[in-house]
């Protein structure tokens, strides 16, 4: 976990201090100040925060900024998040898209929990989980204010910190006294369990600074105007967004219930227990079968499995069918007259679902790998290629010019060369491209790897790199072009080969978290068998399944992974998908670490790529934001977190 700060509640001394300092940028009003302006609608805005954004994709250009508000009306607290109009940095994001993400007046009685994330680098964000199981996308607080957000909620609704996770805050309206009792018992660290959840009682707990000198500023006025508009217009987009979100919610809930039935084990987060009690009013009979109410809500085309082990079928229903690969003609339609890719997301989506025809790979992979940028023109690319060609020759000459006498006194060089030469002659030799003993392609692999070890001397050469390079050379043909594409790939996968293995460890850790999220019985099984290091997936992750598929299939998988469509970490969902496909065998046969490793290694050549990709996509959708929050920032193949800009944003927190 990356949390650096565990304080945030209003009853926290640290919090009080921060409010005193005025370091927070929160715009807030208390009830006495708000009273008059709120009376017209019977609604009172108790918290407004600007520049709270969601990130629908990993691309900065597609982030949506908006205003987050907490509104009190008729004794209930509501949350809204409205994106700014006409401020989009990206033309691709239509107003309709933005409406889809709009959060309109969610009552806190529907909120189950709020998870706070405080990355060491980057913006704080929260994930709001509804009692239906739906999670809204993470809300990034560009100007800080998570602490105040939580404190305000605490003031007006019932909020306690989860005993299991200090960053999870449970929300409950506590209409049921039984629940209140139960929750207070379950949450020993919960603060101020009062009998009255009224705001008066809550306010009495807050520090005196809470009421001090906070002014009602321009933003709040604007916010109120928006609030009025909101209530006047019945936005048709609202129905759409609810529809979409409920679909996700159903999937997530379906997955959770299905998986938690097996072995009769409840998830350890305490939510399920509460949820179930809430739904059926009983406290003694869990684990139990999924609520029949929920089953009725499932769309008809989703089978409700009687046996939880049939969960796999869910993914078959949800994963979209694969398409034929992208062909030359279709590709040229994506290019404008000067060769720019006008809609890179559409291209990536297209490739995600179908891959690329072999002849076209040479052109398209350069974009997917990031060697060429989508908005470059033919001329710019041609120029880049020529510049890069001479740059490659320069680096290559650095080792080419090492004489025998020099090499004698250059152990590191000799060792690297030796290691590379040992590996290139045993890389994909069953492929005709590398078949012959004196194949120039083998020599080319060697030259590129040796050059790379000079280009990135710190990383050097590591086993596995030749596996990653070989398909690229096969596709690109040209030595220099192959080198630069490989460089681009290694920008993302380089950490896999770090000496401290941190890149691998972070991915295997994320994988364990994803399995925990998507298949808790399997997770529990691995835990029981002491397999949570996931080393049995090491080869999968290190070289992107290169040893698991035939050469052609590997290339298809890679180009799909490289689209980063949906998730940068689809490969981890591929891991989960494969494990889930075999879960009944793994659990049924009681495999221990050794047997599991052997079993996984022997799956090589027996994995149905298309089926697994469909599963992986479905799992990725199922997991949604919860899935992404399992994956620490900077986990390969994410690009390393940009320290400078992140620190800058963090500083903003204090300045504003």
């Amino acid at each position: 976990m990356h949390e650096i700060d565990v304080h945030d509640l209003s009853d926290d001394a640290d919090y009080a201090a921060s409010v005193q300092q005025g370091s927070a940028s929160m715009n807030r009003s208390n009830s006495s100040k708000q009273g008059s302006s709120g009376e017209q609608e019977g609604a009172e805005i108790v918290y407004v925060k600007d520049n709270v954004a969601i990130h629908p994709t990993q691309y900065a250009s597609e982030r949506i900024s908006g205003r987050l508000k907490l509104i009190k009306q008729g004794g209930s607290l509501f949350m809204t998040w409205i994106p700014y109009k006409g401020q989009s940095s990206s033309a691709r994001l239509s107003e309709k898209d933005k409406s889809l993400y709009t959060i309109r007046a969610v009552p806190f009685s529907d909120v189950r929990s709020i998870r706070r994330h405080t990355p060491t680098l980057g913006w704080q964000y929260v994930i709001v989980v509804l009692s239906s199981g739906l999670a809204f996308p993470p809300l990034y607080f560009y100007n800080g204010g998570v602490r105040e957000f939580l404190a305000t909620i605490k003031q007006h609704a019932y909020l306690v910190r989860s005993a299991d996770d200090a960053n999870v805050f449970l929300v409950n309206d506590f209409q049921d006294p039984l629940q209140r009792t139960l929750s207070s018992l379950e949450l020993p660290r919960a603060v101020s369990v009062t009998n009255s959840p009224s705001s008066a009682a809550a306010a009495s707990e807050s520090p005196s600074s809470w009421t001090d000198g906070e002014t009602f500023d321009r933003n709040s006025v604007l916010a109120q105007q928006n609030a009025r508009q909101r209530q006047k217009h019945n936005d048709p987009a609202r129905d759409l967004s609810i529809q979409v979100l409920e679909k996700f919610s159903l999937v997530t809930r379906f997955a959770r219930e299905t998986t938690s039935q097996l072995f009769g084990e409840a998830q350890g987060d305490g939510f399920i227990t509460n949820d179930r009690r809430k739904h059926d009013g009983k406290t003694h009979d869990y684990p139990r079968i999924a609520e029949s109410n929920d089953a009725q809500k499932l769309p008809e085309d989703v089978p409700v499995p009687a046996d939880p082990l049939e969960f796999d079928k869910l993914s078959l229903v949800w994963g979209k069918p694969r398409q034929p690969p992208l062909g030359t003609e279709e590709w040229s339609a994506f290019l404008d007259s000067e060769g720019r890719v006008t809609d890179s997301e559409a291209v990536r989506k297209r490739i995600f679902y179908g891959g690329v025809e072999p002849d076209l790979r040479k052109e398209v992979w350069r974009f997917l790998l990031g060697y060429h940028s989508y908005d470059s023109t033919y001329a710019e690319r041609e120029y880049l290629v020529s510049v890069k060609k001479s740059e490659y020759e320069t680096i290559k000459n650095q080792w080419k010019s090492i004489s025998k006498e020099q090499a004698k006194r250059f152990t590191k060089f000799r060792e690297r060369r030796g290691l590379i030469e040992k590996d290139v002659v045993r890389t994909d030799r069953s492929t005709s491209f590398y078949e012959e003993d004196d194949s120039p392609n083998i020599k080319c692999l060697r030259d590129i790897l040796l050059t790379y070890s000079f280009y990135n001397f710190d990383l050097g050469y590591c086993q596995g790199m030749s596996d990653l390079l070989s398909p690229i050379l096969f596709v690109m043909g040209d030595e220099s072009e192959t080198f630069w594409c490989f460089v681009a790939l290694m920008e993302r996968l380089g950490p896999n080969f770090n000496r401290d293995q941190n890149g691998m460890h972070s991915q295997l850790f994320a994988l364990s978290k994803l399995v925990e999220l998507l298949d808790i019985p399997l997770h529990n099984y691995f835990e029981q068998k002491d397999c949570l290091n996931y080393f049995f997936c090491f080869r999968w992750v290190l070289i992107q399944f290169k040893r698991e598929f035939e050469f052609e299939q590997t290339m298809r998988l890679w180009e799909v992974l490289w689209t980063h469509y949906g998730s940068e970490h689809l490969h981890l969902y591929v891991c989960v998908a494969i494990l889930k496909r075999h879960r009944s065998k793994i659990i049924g046969e009681g495999m221990d670490f050794d047997t599991l490793l052997k079993f996984i290694n022997e799956l090589s050549g027996h994995i149905d790529l298309d089926a697994i990709l469909r599963d992986a996509e479905a799992l990725c959708i199922c997991a949604g934001e919860n899935g992404e929050s399992c994956i620490p920032p900077g986990t390969p193949p994410s690009l390393p977190v940009d320290d400078a800009s992140m620190y800058y944003q963090q500083d903003d927190d204090d300045v504003l």
């Binding site: 030796g418 290691l419 040992k422 086993q463 080969f497 293995q501 080393f535």
Partner: protein, 206 residues
């Protein structure tokens, strides 16, 4: 005083990249050699049934990645090992010099209960290459090192031609079995497998 029956013997093969770990394992288990084994990523193992008198044992032979960068994975793979096989290439001085690192790394990561007496076996592989003309590590030198480390049994092998592979693994199996001895078990003194064939260059003292 026979007690609990021990059926699985775990053996770890270590050594520099490209010395022939995978090939030795495959030659022993499958009686096959290929020029085209890929570099091992992560770890894998093969099993072979071995018989000692009237008892069957499963020899589980672990093949690991040879690059030292992956050594940190060892913790997961080395635990519970009964014997460790150190392999070097007689045509590569560096691979011989690294035996000491591999041995120490193993002892650190596997942390056996009695490191002083943990059984190792050393194999000098690739004796077939160039008719022995490219050899740079002499048998004498190798044996001297083995002697200095507590009389480690030593074999010179060719995974390609199958030379001494069977003999070496018999010794390995026997040592693995012996290492479990203190823990519990009754074991016979002789190995039944191909008992007639004596190792040619073997130094198995067991």
């Amino acid at each position: 005083m026979p007690s609990r029956r021990r059926t699985l013997l775990k053996v770890i093969i270590l050594g520099d990249s490209g010395v022939g770990k995978t090939s030795l394992m495959n030659q022993y288990v499958n009686k096959k050699f290929s020029n085209q084994y890929k570099a091992t990523i992560g770890a894998d193992f093969l099993t072979k049934e071995v018989q000692f008198e009237d008892r069957l044992f499963t020899l589980q032979i672990w093949d690991t990645a040879g690059q030292e960068r992956f050594q940190s994975l060892g913790v997961a793979f080395y635990r519970g090992a009964d014997c460790c096989v150190l392999v070097y290439d007689v045509n590569s001085m560096k691979s011989f010099e690294n035996l000491n690192n591999w041995r120490e790394e193993f002892l650190i990561q596997a942390s056996p209960s009695d490191p002083e007496n943990f059984p190792f076996v050393v194999l000098g592989n690739k004796i077939d290459v160039d008719g022995g003309n490219s050899r740079v590590v002499s048998e004498k030198k190798a044996r001297a090192w083995c002697a200095s480390k507590g009389n480690i049994p030593y074999f010179e092998t060719s995974a390609k031609e199958g030379t001494n592979v069977e003999e070496a693994f018999q010794c390995i199996a026997k040592n693995a079995l012996k290492s479990g001895e203190e823990e519990e078990i009754y074991l016979p003194d002789t190995i039944d497998v191909a008992a007639s064939s004596q190792q040619r260059t073997g130094g198995c003292e067991c």
